[in-house]
Amino acid sequence: MSFLAGEYDVIVIGAGHAGCEAALASARKGSRTLLLTLNLDALAMMPCNPSIGGTGKGHLVREIDALGGEMGKNIDKTFIQTKTLNTAKGVAVQSLRAQADKKKYQEEMKFVIENTDNLDLKQQEAVEILTEDEKVSGVITHTGAMYKTKAIVICSGTYLKGRIIIGDVSYSGGPNGIFPANKLSDSLKKLGFKLLRLKTGTPARVNKRSIDFSKMEVQFGDKEITPFSFENEDKDLDYDEQPCYLAYTNEKTHEVIKDNLHRSPLYSGNITGIGPRYCPSIEDKIVRFADKERHQLFVEPEGLNTNEMYLQGMSSSLPEDVQVKFLRTIKGLENVEIMRVAYAIEYDAVEPTQIELSLESKVVKGLFTAGQINGTSGYEEAAAQGLIAGINASNYVQNKEPLILDRASSYIGVLIDDITTKGTKEPYRMFTSRVEYRLLLRQDNADLRLTPYGYEQGLISKERYENLLKYEDAVNNEKSRLKQVKITPSNENNQKLTEIGTTPLRNTITVYDLIKRPKISYDDTEIFDENRAELSRRVKQQVEIQIKYHDYILKQQASIDKFKSMEKKVLPEDINYNEIKNLRLEARQKLEDIRPKNLGQASRISGVSPSDINVLLIELAKNK
C-alpha cells in the first residue's frame, strides 16, 4: 500500500554526481526539489578513480562551474594534488586534474545540499514512475511512500539491476558494496524505454602500509595551484598535497594473467554488457597487446584519512586469488594486501537517442535522464548532464524555454549532441578530439563562453556576472592598448629581442604583433612596454592567448558560422519522414527514430547522407 508522502516540482532520483548537480540547479532556480538516494552515505561517491578532471573532463568541470554548478567548487575544497596536463602542448588541449580526498568530497557535497533552500534530501529507493496523460506525475518508493511531482530527473548511475562480477563469482549488487536498484528499470521499460546493458569496472584498492614505495617513481602535482572554480581564481587554496606513484607490470605479471585467462568472465562469456574500450582490463591489455613487455600502473591515494590506494591501470574481472597473485609480482607490491577487490559491474541504461537535447525523454513528458543511465561514463560527464537536466526540469515546470548548448558553445554541448544524435554502444567518455572547435572551447575561457548562460538561468549571481563583464573589458582594453605600443627596429630593441630568443626587426611593429610570434609571452614583452599597468594573472593569460591564436581562432570562427547556419534550419515537429519520397529508406528510418531538431543535427546522424540533407532542404523550402 502506498501513501501520499509529499508534493514537489522536481524529484531527482539518485544522488551521484549527476543527481547532486540536478537537484542543486533545480532548487536554486526556485523549484521545490526532492533528492532521493538509496544510501545517504553514498552521496557524491567516487566509486572508481580518486580524481576529478583530466583531458577533456577538466573542460567539462570548468564549464559546469561557469554555468553555476557545484563540482568545481567542491573539488577545490577537497583536492590533495592538482596538475595541469599537456602544458607542453597547445592551450586548446590543456586540462586540469585534481586528486580528491574521496570521503571529504562526499561530506562537503552532502553539506552543501543539506543547506540549500527548496531542497529535501531523503534515503529512499524509487521503484516506480507514475504518469498521467503521458506526463510524469509522481514517484513511489520501496516503503510505499508516494510523492507527487511535475518533473523527474533519473540519475541512476550503475545501480539499475546492477550485477557484480569477480572472476567466476557474480551477484546482484551496486557499486562499492551498496545494494542495487532492481525495480526502477522495469518501470522504465513499461513506460516504453528501450534499455541497454552496459559494463564498467574498477581496479583493486590496496593498503598503503603493504606497499614498498621506494621501488616506485614518486609523482607530485603542480607547485602553482590552478583552481577549478572561477570563483576561487584569486584565492589561496589551502590543501595538503599527497603524491602518486608510478609502477610497472612485468613478464611474471603477464604470465600469471595468461595462465588464468580461462577464469575470466570476459573470456568465458559470463559478461554480456558492453564495456568501454578506453578502460580495458589488465587481462584485456595483455591479450591485445601481447608484444608489450610492461604496462604502467599509477598508485593514487584515496584520501587523507585512509590508507586505501587506488591502482590505476589495473582494472580486472579475474578471480580474487588471481588478482592477489598477479599484483604481488609487481615491484613494490610484493607484499600487497588488497582491501577492496577489483570488480566489473553490469547495469541497465536507456538508449540515449530516446532523449532530447534538453535531456527530457521523448518517451514521457517531464522525465529527464542524466549520467550513466544515458550511456556515458565518468563523474564529470555525469555532473555536466545533471546540471543541464536539473536546469531544464526546472524550466519545464516553470514553463520556460529549455537551455540547449550547441557543439560550438561547449564540451557539454558536444557531449549531449553526440549521445542523443548518434547514440552509443559503449559507455561514452569525453575526449578533446570529439570537439570540432576545440581551439575556441578552451578551459581558460569557459567563463567567458558560458557564465552569461548561467546568469540568465539564475545560477550565477549578479556580482559574479558583473565581475565577468569587467574582466572581459579589461582583456579587450589591454588588447587594444597593445596595438598602439610600437617597437622600432633600433639596435637596442633588436638586442633585447635577441635576448628573449626571437629574431630582430627590420620595420617597426607593435607589441601586439610581437606576442603573435611563437614562444613569446605577454610577460616577455614588458621590456618594450615599461609603463604597463599590473594586470591580474588571468587577464594577462587571456590577452596572450587571444592575441597569439587570433588567426586560428578566426579560422575556426568561420567554420562555426557555417555550422550555425545549418543549426538554424529547424525541422518541423510534425514532419513525416516516411512521406518524403526522395529520402533513402535508411535515412527515413533513422530520421523517424531520432527526430532531429534541425538540419545540422540531422546531418550528424550516421546513415543520413548529404543528398538526403538536400532533399530535406527542399522539403523545408516547400513548406515555408
Binding site: C48, N49, T55, G56, L85, N86, K89, G90, V91, A92, V93, T202, P203, P276, R277, Y278, C279, P280, K285, R288, F289, K292, H295, Q296, F298, Q312, G313, M314, S315, K422, F431, T432, S433, R434, E436, R438, L439, P518, K519, Y549, Y552, K555, Q556, K562, S565, M566, N582, S603, S606, P610, S611, I613, N614, V615, L617, I618, A621, K622, K624
Partner: protein
C-alpha cells in the same frame, strides 16, 4: 551540402562568344567584387542598385589589369537568387574569363556547384511551387546521376587511393591524439620532423591524384598549341599541313597573317587546338602591333609552343628576340622547317639544347613526327583514356587542391614552431575535404584508431 556562403561561376556557355559573364551571389558578393573591381571613382558599394558600371578587373597582388569590364549590381531580394548578386561582363576569351573567375575565387567566393544558382533561387522563394517540383526532380535526378557518376569515377581506384590517404591521416591523428588524451602514459610523441615527413608523404600521394585530373582535363578539353616564329618561316604552311585545310592565309608578303587563326585537330584522341599567331616582328604599323600583343597573350594561354625556324637562313635578330620572349614554364618544340632547301648548319646548331623536329611544311614531310612529339609532351600514355582518369569532377578536384593547401598550412605552422594541436585544425580540415569525396571520417574513427593501436586505460 547546401551552404549560404558566397558563390561564383561563369554564367555564359563556354566557347568563344563576344562577351562572357561571371556571376557572384551571396552576402559577400559586393565585398568580393570590391576586391577585384576598380572604377575611376568610388567603389561598387557606393553605386546604386540595378546599375551597370564601367571599370577594370585588377589583381591587387600584382596590380595587373586583367580586363576592361562592365559590372552589374543587384541587391537582395531583387535578383535571380534573391541574394546580393554581381555580374561581371568581360571580353569573351576563355582565358580572360577564367582568370577573372580565379581572381574572384581567390578573393573570398567559392566555386558554385552545378545548378547552385538555381537551387538558391528556389530556396529563397524566387521560383514558384510548380517550378519547385520540377527542380526537386532535377535535384533528385542529379543525385542519382551523381551516384552513377560517383560509381563510375570511384570505380577506378580513386576512392581506394583517397581512403588510403585518409587512413594515413587518421593514423597520424590517432598518434597525435593519444598523447594528448593520455599525457601520462608512455606512448611516444611524434617529433615535428616525423609529422612533417608524414604530411609530405600524404601530400605526394595527393599530388599524384591531382595530376590525373589534369590529364583528364587534357583529354576532355584538349590543349592549346601556339605556332610562333618570325614572318615567312612557314607557320601557315605548317598549320595547313597539320589541319589539311586552307583556313590560314598563306602569302609571300611578310606580315599578312594578322588575325589569330585557330583550328582543332584530333591527335591520338586528344583535341589539339593550333593557334597560328601573327608573324611576330618589330612592326611599326598599328594594326600589326595589336596582332603582336595578342600573339604574346596567346603564348601565355598555350600549353605547348611550336617555334618555327627557317633552316635555310642564318638566325637574325628577329629570331633572337623571339627566343628571348619564350616563356620558361611552357613546353617548347622547335620546328626546323624548310629542310628541303639548303640547310644552314649554324641555325640547326643553335637549337642543340632544345627539343627539335625537322620538317618540310611545303612538302608535308615530317608532320607525323610533330604530332608524335606533341602527344609525347602532353604526358599522356596509351593507357589514359577518357573515363579512365581518376578525377574528372571539378568539385573533387577543388576538394583535393583544398586538402593540399591544408597540408601546406599545417607544415608551415609546425615549421613556425606552433603547437601541433593547432596544425591539427588544418589536418582535420584536409580530412574533411577528402571525406567530401568518399564519405565522412568522424572523430569516432580516430578514437577507434587510438584504442585499436594503443594500450591505455584504468
Amino acid at each position: 551540402m547546401f551552404k549560404e556562403d558566397t558563390i561564383a561561376a561563369i554564367a555564359t556557355p563556354s566557347g568563344y562568344g563576344g562577351i562572357s559573364i561571371i556571376r557572384i551571389s551571396g552576402s559577400e558578393a559586393f565585398k568580393v567584387c570590391d576586391r577585384v573591381f576598380k572604377m575611376k571613382k568610388g567603389s561598387i558599394f557606393d553605386v546604386p542598385k540595378n546599375t551597370i558600371n564601367y571599370g577594370h578587373v585588377v589583381d591587387k597582388d600584382t596590380n595587373e589589369i586583367i580586363d576592361e569590364v562592365l559590372v552589374s549590381k543587384m541587391c537582395e531580394p531583387h535578383s535571380f537568387t534573391a541574394e546580393d548578386v554581381i555580374e561581371i561582363n568581360c571580353h569573351g576569351g576563355m582565358s580572360v574569363t577564367k582568370d577573372i573567375l580565379n581572381l574572384v575565387l581567390k578573393n573570398g567566393a567559392r566555386l558554385a556547384e552545378a545548378g547552385e544558382f538555381t537551387k538558391r533561387a528556389f530556396l529563397n522563394g524566387r521560383i514558384d511551387l510548380v517550378q519547385a517540383e520540377a527542380i526537386s526532380d532535377i535535384i533528385t535526378a542529379k543525385t542519382s546521376n551523381f551516384a552513377k557518376s560517383a560509381m563510375s569515377s570511384l570505380k577506378g581506384d580513386l576512392s581506394k587511393r583517397i581512403d588510403d590517404i585518409k587512413a594515413d591521416i587518421t593514423n597520424m591523428l590517432a598518434r597525435l591524439e593519444v598523447t594528448i588524451q593520455y599525457p601520462e602514459y608512455d606512448e611516444e610523441d611524434l617529433t615535428n620532423n616525423e609529422i612533417v615527413e608524414l604530411i609530405n608523404s600524404m601530400k605526394s600521394k595527393l599530388n599524384k591524384i591531382i595530376a590525373t585530373f589534369e590529364k583528364g582535363e587534357i583529354l576532355k578539353d584538349g590543349i592549346n598549341v601556339a605556332i610562333i616564329g618570325k614572318p615567312n618561316v612557314g607557320k601557315s604552311q605548317l598549320l595547313n599541313a597539320l589541319i589539311n585545310e586552307n583556313k590560314a592565309i598563306v602569302t609571300e608578303e611578310a606580315g599578312t597573317t594578322r588575325d589569330i587563326v585557330d583550328e582543332v585537330v584530333n591527335i591520338k584522341g586528344v583535341p589539339i587546338k593550333f593557334i597560328d599567331t601573327a608573324g611576330i616582328r618589330n612592326a611599326d604599323s598599328k594594326v600589326e602591333k595589336i596582332g603582336i600583343d595578342k600573339s604574346i597573350a596567346m603564348l601565355e594561354e598555350s600549353n605547348i609552343i611550336l617555334f618555327c625556324i627557317d633552316t635555310s637562313r642564318a638566325l637574325d635578330t628577329e629570331d633572337m628576340d623571339i627566343i628571348k620572349m619564350l616563356p620558361d614554364d611552357k613546353e617548347i618544340l622547335v620546328v626546323l622547317n624548310k629542310m628541303d632547301l639548303n640547310t644552314n648548319m649554324d641555325t640547326i646548331k643553335a637549337f642543340e639544347n632544345y627539343k627539335t623536329v625537322e620538317i618540310s611544311a611545303l612538302k608535308k614531310e615530317g608532320i607525323e613526327k610533330i604530332e608524335n612529339k606533341i602527344y609525347e609532351l602532353t604526358g599522356l600514355t596509351e593507357d589514359d583514356e577518357v573515363g579512365n582518369t581518376l578525377v574528372s569532377n571539378v568539385r573533387h578536384k577543388n576538394l583535393l587542391i583544398g586538402a593540399r593547401e591544408d597540408f601546406d598550412n599545417a607544415i608551415k605552422m609546425i615549421n613556425e614552431g606552433l603547437e601541433v594541436d593547432l596544425a591539427e585544425i588544418d589536418i582535420n580540415s584536409a580530412l574533411g575535404k577528402l571525406g567530401g569525396i568518399t564519405g565522412e571520417t568522424t572523430s569516432e574513427d580516430i578514437i577507434d584508431e587510438i584504442f585499436k593501436n594503443f594500450c591505455l586505460g584504468k
